[in-house]
Symmetry: C2
Subunit: 459 residues, 2 copies
């Protein structure tokens, strides 16, 4: 037995301290050495540019981010590992003692999961002792970037499907089992009715759906026997009809008298096959039998089938959803916007920070997003300083963690899903249509922010 089971497969909570880019830890050591332990850092997470063709993003992953912040620590094993790394050879014991006692004690502001946001709008703001705020960067980005990516894709696909159900089917093409699980969560937030991922049902209560695979059909000598045996045990299961010849299989079902709640088409011309199948089923009295379609579906194909009134009741969407195939990365970044130095009387002196790299410029200062509505629809957003206020401008970020503790009950997954659905109703049609080149939603910076940023001179 040459393998150490699970070690290379499971990330255990006591390893969270190392679930980060190495530079976060070397910077932690450098901050420690330059006596910045008391200094507080304010970081903001935002997306500079949306994935291709997206007009909006759907925020997801906050629950996992807070779970990570709550449990983050450096175990003895982890500390021993770092001590042995050449980079840390110059660090003294006091640094490793600091890591041993490390916990996240900061404050976190965030927009609720399920929110619709636009480029450059902060979705999370972290204020904490600068080392703490720094080391959490990588994990927060990975968690928020990924779930927001998938929630955004799901939102587009379910918008295209209209009143037809969409089920997430992508476990096998997701980027590993955890991506499948978190992707199922994000898909549900984005409007999917459920998932094929059993673990997502077990852990998160997401409705789970399963039909059958070709292998089950093939394990029988006769296709009709496979249908019969399966429907005896699972009358509410859907029978897969494309193993050999789709319409032939539908006719076998229609003739059989067996009880089934649906059939699944998985290849070929889904429009033509759904129309033909519906006819065969209806003529045989299987009017209540639903038709599910799957096989490399995405928002464009779903939109086309819906526009042509294909008699498809449920769409199973796998690869394209689980990987956000047309653009598989949400470009979130996490940038320092201010530091706060201890001053007299327990107060802090705030210093605004920004970078001026070509094409990667940032705006300084702790920010808030203010949203303005007209006739129930989102009209425009203003990104301002967190201490600004605008009449009619509704601030989107709330404090969700205070001194390292989650502030109040987090919404349930169904509440988050419901919130996203209500957000979609506030989005003007031109930003929801998936068959148009997306319009740019109007987001502007407040005058104060523009002024602070334009007068900055690096030294």
């Amino acid at each position: 037995m040459g393998i150490r089971n699970d070690k290379n497969l499971v990330i255990y909570p006591d390893e969270f301290g190392l679930a980060t880019d190495y530079y976060e830890l070397t910077m932690a050591a450098a901050y420690f050495n330059s006596k910045q332990v008391q200094r507080r850092g304010v970081f903001e997470l935002f997306v500079r540019k949306l994935p291709r063709n997206r007009a909006y993003m759907v925020v997801a992953g906050l629950e996992q981010a807070l779970s990570y912040l709550t449990d983050l620590k450096f175990s003895e094993d982890v500390i021993s590992f770092l001590r042995k790394e050449k980079s840390f050879s110059k660090m003294e014991d006091d640094f490793f003692e600091y890591l041993r006692r490390f916990e996240f004690t900061g404050d976190v502001w965030a927009v609720p999961e399920g929110s619709i946001l636009f480029p450059n709008e902060p979705l999370i703001r972290v204020e904490a002792p600068i080392i703490e705020a720094q080391v959490v960067e990588t994990f927060l980005l990975s968690t928020i970037n990924f779930q927001s990516l998938i929630a955004t894709k799901a939102s587009r696909i379910t918008a295209a499907a209209g009143n037809k159900q969409v089920i997430e089917f992508g476990f096998r093409r997701a980027h590993g089992p955890q991506a499948a699980l978190l992707g199922a969560r994000a898909s549900y937030i984005g409007g999917c009715a459920g998932t094929s991922n059993t673990l997502a049902g077990y852990k998160m209560g997401i409705p789970i759906f399963g039909t059958m695979a070709h292998s089950y059909i093939m394990s029988f000598e006769r296709e009709a026997d496979a249908f019969l045996e399966f429907s005896k045990v699972f009358p509410e299961g859907m029978l897969l009809v494309d193993t050999y010849d789709t319409l032939d299989a539908v006719r076998k079902i229609a003739k059989s008298g067996l009880e089934t709640s649906g059939i699944r088409l998985d290849s070929g011309d889904l429009y033509a096959l759904s129309v033909e199948s519906r006819k065969i089923l209806d003529e045989a009295g299987y009017r209540g039998t639903k038709i599910m379609a799957s096989g490399d579906l995405n928002e464009y194909i779903v939109n086309d089938l819906v526009q042509r009134h294909a008699p498809i009741d449920v769409f199973g969407v796998g690869t394209e959803l689980a990987t956000s195939r047309d653009d598989p990365a949400m470009n979130g970044v996490y940038k320092l916007v201010a530091v706060k130095d201890p001053a007299e009387n327990g107060s802090y002196r705030i210093i605004y920070k920004l970078k001026t790299s070509p094409g990667k410029k940032t705006y300084a200062g702790p920010k808030q997003v203010f949203r303005f509505y007209e006739d129930g629809l989102v009209n425009f957003d203003i990104i301002g300083l967190d201490n600004e206020s605008f009449s009619d401008g509704i601030p989107l970020m709330n404090m969700v963690m205070e001194k390292g503790v989650v502030k109040s009950r987090l919404p349930t997954l169904d509440e988050i899903k419901g919130f996203h659905a209500s957000q979609m109703e506030t989005l003007p049609l031109q930003f929801r249509k998936i068959d148009l080149v997306p319009e740019k939603f109007p987001v502007k910076y407040s005058d104060k922010l523009e002024k602070i940023t334009s007068t900055f001179r690096p030294q």
Copy 2:
């Protein structure tokens, strides 16, 4: 505190039974009910079509697949969950008792990790009692598809980089923390020299690299102070020079006399900046100081920089590698190719299986891949039956698990990486060039396979 820590973030080994598509479990129940418990199934995992522009794939993820198979079980919690699901309401106690005692007892054949393969070539073959072989489908696909996807991308990028180092930098854009970890592993197999992912260093011994982020520079009032402080603690660290003005920062370093092993360019025209930076550094006597480049790099940009002789020593590649951005899904499928029914004297009667779905046809029977070389280069492959043999044709799949137990020591990660490097040397140039439309590598089916498949008639 509204959150159940880690439950929704970590997949624990005793939950592996549910880390699968729900239909695998409903099929398990249906197989159980139709008395197929003794029947053995033979399944093969292969990739029908490679991601866009790829001429070959690199196999990775086998270690994690075997780890999963070794530890797969259904805990009491998991069984209680299934019992309560409506789909399982008709199942009797004996099925849940079967799950309680469930373990994977099958045989597994596989090509070694790091292998180069082509479309339709089986990379794993599983033979087990059909329920066992069926329920492992989803997890195996997810693990093998993802790691092979990233190893393939890494192989292309490192091939483009030639003798320059490539470091995997993609944690923050990977599809969650586990994808980041497994992606770092796959990138290393595919030729990367290391990763920024600390956990991959801790768990797998992959060399870890870290420089610094813009936030560290920005936390200081003066950029030069940031460089100085950092280089005191980490003289072997690389200084990030693009926070404000790249060449200005390089000049500050050149003037400072500080000790540093390198600088990192992260934006702008990387070619021009590397040439200018090299000049400034060399003139100040920093001849040994390396230049690293990062920022949305991929195989095409790396190739271009290398062809133009940009004085870049190390490439940091993030998003494009960690997500395989230009095509983020490996299209692996897992198909039943035969069943074996118990016959007299403990022997089995084998029945070949295949599907004929339009565009998704499969070949029947347990297969082997035979590779033929000429002058040390791969010439062509033949996919034949596992009991065929060809003079000069080297079989690529070996038995790696027997009756649920890993057969022999698995190769170390460095051995796998070395094996992939040696595989690349056998690949003719036209399949390695990334700036050409890929040529199709000649793979044919044996006459026997063609005959079996063409004479199949579904019922």
